[in-house]
Symmetry: C3
Subunit: 218 residues, 3 copies
């Protein structure tokens, strides 16, 4: 199976790592919002599994991995439990969380694109769905806490590294050279681009002739 970019055990470990990191970001936001222990668990689950759930519904992979694979369900609950007890310590390592989140983004956009292609989508559609897999959980998280998704608001170039990574995978698939090595290149490229975007505050342009000083709509 193409989806197994890496030997199954390693692939599974990488998936769980991405899920864990996204779940942590959801749980920390829930603590900041003063949600109770169940709200923390729900937000951890939604953030970690929302993107993959959307992908699986679109490609018809039923039941979605989020409901078919027990470890995908337990991992966010574990992250929620850790944040519940240790949130001051976890929040303090904010920089590490951002690095891990970049790793999650990289892993999800590459594995999402690959899985979509396996299920028969075209190259462009696969790359688009790979990006949606990577950013979808965060969008759901922000909608649930009643905020404009940071994806739309932050101008942080969150989506661009995912776009590049997914496009790389699509190119490799089109050329018939997607291997664990080239997949790894796509993951690392995405990861490094995201770290650079954060480090140097790369910002995407606003609409032409629109100064960022323009007052936002209330």
């Amino acid at each position: 199976m193409l989806h197994d970019l890496f030997p199954p055990g390693i692939q599974h470990a990488l998936d769980l790592a991405g899920i864990f990191v996204f779940a942590t970001s959801g749980a920390l936001l829930a603590v900041r919002k003063n949600f109770d222990v169940f709200g923390i668990a729900v937000l951890a689950l939604v953030t970690a599994l929302g993107g993959g759930l959307f992908r699986d519904l679109v490609i018809g992979a039923v039941p979605p991995a989020a409901f078919g694979e027990l470890s995908f369900f337990v991992t966010p609950l574990l992250a929620a439990a850790i944040v519940f007890f240790l949130h001051p310590e976890v929040a303090r390592i904010n920089r590490l969380i951002n690095v891990l989140d970049a790793a999650g983004l990289a892993l999800f956009c590459v594995s999402g694109t690959t899985k979509a292609y396996e299920y028969g989508l075209g190259l462009t559609a696969s790359a688009a769905l790979g990006v949606a897999t990577a950013v979808g959980g965060g969008v759901l998280r922000d909608v649930l806490v009643n905020e404009v998704p940071s994806l739309l608001r932050d101008r942080e170039m969150y989506a661009v590294p995912a776009l590049v990574g997914a496009a790389l995978v699509a190119v490799f698939l089109g050329m018939g050279v997607l291997t664990p090595l080239t997949s790894g290149i796509a993951v690392v490229t995405t990861f490094v681009l995201r770290l650079l975007a954060m480090r140097y505050h790369w910002r995407a342009p606003l609409a032409w002739n629109r100064r960022s000083s323009v007052a936002e709509e209330p």
Copy 2:
């Protein structure tokens, strides 16, 4: 069929009762928000059918019952019409609505868990999807009126009774003893727990070391 916990006619009547109650809660919220008659109907439909729609998409039951069963579609419209004309009277029996909502929660989490299991999900995933069936419509309702879902915000122990009920069903399924009787026990347990949680204001804990007096994020 397992899904028919009770003789088909009774099962169907119970489903319709749950749908009616949830639709009423959505329609009342729409009136409070000053929505027009169509907004009231939309919010009634979404609240009543959203949870089951999500469940059916996840398990691949296409078309979902919300679109396959005419009475499931007409019942929320009936509830919307009643609220449209009689909303002051309906709102006055707020306590009764809360009791009925507890009944809807109990019925939906038990029938949702059972249906998910029938479609091949594991026991844990079935219970999780049963809870999602029971609370999903209310989450969609709150997102549409631009509020943080009361599930996350209220600390009202809304999810816990559903969790207990769904877990009971999963245990009965695992032991091979799910019958109308044991299903009824799960429904009644959920219902009573929810009533007790409301009566005695049971509250779920906030994150460790976080006092509820801490100012919420703006």
Copy 3:
């Protein structure tokens, strides 16, 4: 195929026209919200494709047209690019956009109802899903920018013309007389009703005994 109301080339052109118009409305809202170029593209895609995506998930048309048809994906990006550079000019032709949006609403509710019926839904469910196809993208757009959907809030009779058009299609289907001609009648009826509703400010009634002067909930 019923879905081809018109010769395939014309049907496809009409679909693309509807997608283009809805994408433009999403992109303009993103500019007003000061989103960057990626936010503009995302909101254009979601607004244009969200309704059809929902319809296709409900009827089990996997992968959804949004991910199976490259031109459906490229058109919103083109609209986003035009808005990115020319938004003051585009916004100035606001009246034209409203007319085009009415055309998109008309096309989507008719083709959505027809496609749902083709996939085996009943007449009522098909009409309901046709309306959801027509209004769904706008609802998602508003949820993402953290506003109560204008569908619920505006009392602008946005849904009513779509309801009438979808009901007409259902009647024609039930009588076995759905042809390009009768489909065209449904499209034109929806379009004209929507224009009249805008021109004469038709407003839907609030709940009985509830004056529009009542202060809205904060």
